[in-house]
Amino acid sequence: MSRRPYMRKVERSWWLHQPRYVLYMIRELTSLFVGLYCALLVVGLVRLSQGQAAWEGFVAAFSSPLGIAFQLVCLAFAIYHSVTWFALTPKAMPLMVKGEPVPGIVIVGSHYVAWAVVSIIVLIAAGR
């Protein structure tokens, strides 16, 4: 394309100017910690494939004070992701049942129920 559309200069600190923009940026930042925790899980899968000693070393590593501190930060951001993701669902995928729109609170509420159910299933499966 040969056209060069006008691009307005945006200050890099634009999101600091309003509390709601800061919250938006924190919401987006949750993905960094979700991604970092995924990296930890991948290390776990690799260690698992290497046998028992490697796996136990991995468990010891993520149970270390540094591992716990890192994961507590991840947990806070992950929960913030869940809450903001559920809050968005009625806007992202509004539902119609028999021609009537499903109230947002029902869509959000069912996500919280699913969250609880999935969490309990994972806890039971991991606790065996």
Binding site: E11, M25, L32, G35, A39, S63, C74, H81, H111, L123
Partner: protein, 112 residues
């Protein structure tokens, strides 16, 4: 109509956001709190047996790969929001890291 690769990016993005919202917190609760406190134990035999099972492999892969893809796509968009260009470097860094994780997870699960 012009072909777009957007649905291919978006479907795993949305799926990854949902998996990250539903599954990731409880996984962190287990590995970051319950196991270090000694309330729960992730025995090698149990986890290895789960990872041996084809359905177990699929569940573990989904729990890792989908949120990783979601995070990569979102980080790229956030970098754009911060004026860090929509250029190739950011794209390569975000999706490259995600692909690395996804492939490593796949290889490890196949080997288990």
């Amino acid at each position: 109509m012009a072909r777009s690769n957007k649905p291919l990016l978006w479907l795993p993005f949305a799926g990854g956001g949902l998996v990250a919202a539903l599954v990731t917190p409880v996984l962190i609760l287990i590995t970051g709190v319950l196991v270090p406190l000694g309330i729960l134990h992730l025995h090698y035999e149990t986890i290895a047996a789960f990872a041996h099972n084809p359905i177990g492999k699929l569940i573990l892969f989904g729990a890792v790969a989908l949120p990783a893809w979601h995070a990569a796509h979102r980080l790229r968009m956030t970098a754009h929001d911060l004026g860090l260009g929509g250029g190739f470097t950011i794209k390569a860094a975000c999706y490259g890291a995600a692909w690395l994780l996804i492939l490593a997870a796949a290889v490890a699960l196949i080997a288990t």
